[in-house]
Amino acid sequence: MDVIVVFLIICGLIFFTGGAVGILRFPDFYSRLHPAGKLDTGGALLIMVALALFNLHHFSLSTLLTGFKIILIVVFVFLSSPTAIHGIVDAGVRAGLGPWTKKND
């Protein structure tokens, strides 16, 4: 059980690392949104699931409900994160920010 939890958490941390490094490395605003939108969501999913599993060690009704609450956080993150990313990218387009392409490099 612990092995699964540790494995999932380490995977999630790798995803988070990718998100943070990607935000620093990518050339323009639009491509920075890709790691921020995807890798952070995926990392949050993996770590939350792992913590919910770890929480079930002492199995009882209250820990089960707490696990459900953690899963609920994941659901809300999955609903709100793409929407926030979409809002930011739409704002960028409306504000007139040109995307970085290979040609004008």
Binding site: L79, S80, T83, H86, G87, D90
Partner: protein, 276 residues
Amino acid sequence: MRILGIIVVILTGALLIYAMGDFPSWADPASPAHNHVSPRYIEKSLEQTSVPNIVTAVLADYRGYDTMFETTVVFAAGVVCFFLLRIPRKDEPTVRRYRHTLTGMTIRVKETRQIPPVLEEFERIDTLWAPHDLIIKTCCRILVPFLQLFGLYVIAHGHHSPGGGFQGGVILGASMILLAISHDLRTAIGRMSERVHAILCPAGVFIYAGTGALCMVLGLNFLDYGALAGILHVDPVTARSHGILIVEIGVGLAVMATMIWIYNNISSKGKYDEGL
């Protein structure tokens, strides 16, 4: 001038860090803060009020006056925003914009004396053009009821978990603000009009103060909820717990209404027509 400022800041910081050495260390049982009333709260609050969360018991019962005037301060903030910003005279903008919902085209209506009739296919949009954003509208529409339920949960469970009137009220207010941001301000005002939230705000303060006054009428001190035992038909300890819940509901109403009031006034410059 800048260098002088930096020197003053560094000197003050050094003084503060020097003074920090005299602090008692963290969680020191001998420090003054842990010696006067804290042990009494920790030992007695569960048997006197039957509230597991000591912070809530202290906030709403032992220090009831404090919280009541905090609520009054929040209420005052709302009233101040209202009096500073609200423009009661209705001056209609000369240009109105409508969107045809089937095709997404926008129409400008200029300088008309009479307001065009409300049509099914047209919806009014703000003068600063905002796109018809399907994703944001749909997601926020689904999220708002859950946010409201969560706010009510936080208010109702102030006894057992962190939270209470202030936090729950802010979350409830945030749900209406989310509606105003994702759709537009007119939708949110149509759901909860200015009159409603202007009444709810003093009503929350009134519930708080009225509960205290009721206790006084029933023969005990102001805000001594044990007096409610006769009305609620429970023993005094449970009555104190219920009294705390009633007070928290009052705080929640006042904070929610104030948040919506301030947001509407700031974002529409007091005109209540177009928001952020």
